[in-house]
Symmetry: C2
Subunit: 84 residues, 2 copies
Amino acid sequence: MFHSKIVVTLRKSILDPQGKAVQHGMHSLGYEAVKNVRMGKFVELQIDAVSMESAESITREVSEKLLANPVMEDVSFTVEEEGR
Amino acid sequence: MFHSKIVVTLRKSILDPQGKAVQHGMHSLGYEAVKNVRMGKFVELQIDAVSMESAESITREVSEKLLANPVMEDVSFTVEEEGR
């Protein structure tokens, strides 16, 4: 069994209104030191694959097809074999 | 300037209906190998702090007060100094 951790972030050129709202909330609580906030998604998968290569290719494909919008978002991921 | 990366995940004992829906979508696309999906949040902060210790404590405080619900969610984070 393999365990994938996927991070989906908005591209730097794309405005992030949700991040701006969170930043505003932090300033209201007194955390003026926070100068920028970007929100993203974090997804964990458990994959029953025969090899690390297969687990990586499944992770890449589902990330691109289902989890991220390639026009607006970047994806990065790590895959680990469980029980190691 | 410091750069924090925060991951907020649902505790293992809490059901994740959004993850189940995504898993169902993956199975519909033919990725039956995906056995479990858990959704979380990823947040990046830029912090103007005088020291790593200060940046870490700001990150911890805003995570606990604003980003995560400590009853249902776990938080982990890393802080790096920018330009290193």
